[in-house]
């Protein structure tokens, strides 16, 4: 199983689509690592500068319907190529959500109020978050504050994360 934690990048907008996560013109790359420089190149978010804002972050916190649009698994690949293996959001589009777990990555849904509170209390300061999959708990901390937030993980999603992805799971079972 992969590890899920690190410095948090807050993306304060709903409906961040997979074209924004990785534009289609880069889908001509067949190796995942080649996607690294292009993550969020077209993200429509005021003040966001990919080269400046992405490095050093391993966790994303965002709003509703994260990963909507195209089915491209290049979206989670581009995230992982940049060291981001955990996305926390109010909700996810179906295919993106499935792709994350299929890659052995973690997409954690939290209620709107919990997401709102994360933005309010943490978005303006350096924050670290880590997911403990076994306990279904997110540990969130800053220099002077720490808390634990429980989350729910579907049984099958947990099995995929533990197996390292859907291909590994299916290969062993079907």
């Amino acid at each position: 199983m992969k590890s899920f934690g690190g410095s948090v990048l807050f993306l304060n907008r709903p409906d961040i689509n997979t074209d924004e996560i990785i534009p289609a013109k880069y889908l001509t790359e067949i190796e995942r690592e080649a996607l690294k420089p292009y993550l969020f190149e077209d993200l429509n978010l005021d003040g966001f500068v990919p080269n400046r804002d992405i490095p050093g972050h391993e966790v994303i916190v965002s709003r509703a319907n994260f990963g909507c649009g195209s089915s491209r698994e290049h979206a989670p690949w581009a995230l992982e190529a940049n060291g981001i293996r955990l996305v926390i959001a109010e909700s996810f589009a179906r295919i993106f959500h499935q792709n994350m777990f299929n890659c052995g990555l973690l997409a954690v849904e939290l209620p709107a109020e919990a997401i709102e509170r994360l933005f309010k209390e943490y978005a303006h300061r350096a924050t670290v978050a880590a997911a403990d999959v076994a306990r279904s708990v997110l540990a969130v901390r800053t220099d002077d504050h720490a808390e634990e937030i429980p989350f729910t993980l579907a049984e099958f999603d947990r099995a995929l994360v533990e197996a390292g992805g859907w291909l590994e799971y299916a290969n062993a079972r079907y």
Partner: protein, 428 residues
Amino acid sequence: MGKTVAEKIFDTHVVDRPAQDVWILRLDAVFCHEITTPTAILDLMRKGRDQVFDPSKIKAVIDHVTPAKDSNTALQGKILRDWVRRHQITDFFDVGRNGVCHVLFPEQGFVRPGYAVIMGDSHTCTDGAFGAFTPGVGTTDLAVGILKGVGAFRTPRTMKITLVGRLRPGVFAKDVILSIIGRIGMNGATHRIVEFDGPVVADMNMDARMTLCNMTVEAGGTCGICYPDKITADYLWEFIRGGYPDPAAAAAAFHQWWPDPDAVYEEVVVHDVSNVEPVTTFGWKPDNVKPVRAMQGTPIDQVFIGSCTNGRLDDLRSAASVLRGRKIHPHVRAIVCPTTPKIYAQALAEGLIQIFLDAGCCVTNSTCGPCLGMSTGVLAEGEVCASTSNRNFNGRMGRGGMVHLMSPATAAASALAGHIQNSELFNG
């Protein structure tokens, strides 16, 4: 308790239930294109599992960038070609015989009522127009589909959208689906299958039903579904004639893939199309929908008529009826893309291609290219496109470009006017 269409398909395809809410389904077909499949092929090769579950059930096409535009896309094509030859996959559509997957594969009779089909492409939802369960998936799901012939899906949740009323002249399936997305929102059908029913759908031909189902993913939907009937049977007749005495008998047999009268839906939306007028999008989200008249006069640089949403014969006829005998605006370039060679040939035979050429349009080979800014029609920063495609996301057709989604008739009228324009002006 009665069952929805998806519940019936799940019941007949289930091979395992690894968790209470998860169904492993046997797949009737796995569709592949050159953008999302090569990585799946390489992953399988790296794991020493370069195998396919059944070559006769795998269909492959090169459609996103065709012919190849550079070394990367040439390599993607080569990986796919080498793979189909290695595994004797005979339903492979290479340059010259290729078309946009969600138009080509139904046209080839590969989608049938009651099927479960996956493809590594979100607009696979289009194929549900045949009464099938056809979710788009990512590359790993595709790899498992190729290797094992199965896919994992959540217990289906279905919403029903009942279309009633009468379509006004100049209003098409594209306006209907955009008006629905505008109403329910781009998250309005997430994790749900959308059944389209009602008299308006019953009257629609397969081209229009595919347009409707194509954009269900723009509301977050898993796939659209239309009930398979005589229109479906007529469309598929050349492929199914061995199995039934006539199309009416086929339609009667298809009835098993209709929902039960007491099927349970999460939500039922009744949408009166009598009130729908020609619409277009503004901004970066497909649920930002406005009447064309409210956007009229917005200057445009490019028009794109094509894509898996609106590049079928009916769409080309609709655009040609507006363009016939007229010239497009001198400041506009219009790209017309018939989405399969068969559609291209039919458009040629009907004189539609001549109408496009006379009007000053560029008619391209069948490709997905312009819709997602991959080839043959990329926008420059600050440029605006009136497009019959399905996504107006930021940068979708080229970095810094703006896309307004609309019907082929409205796109054609806009090409003539040089700005967003209702097609009424050009009728007759």
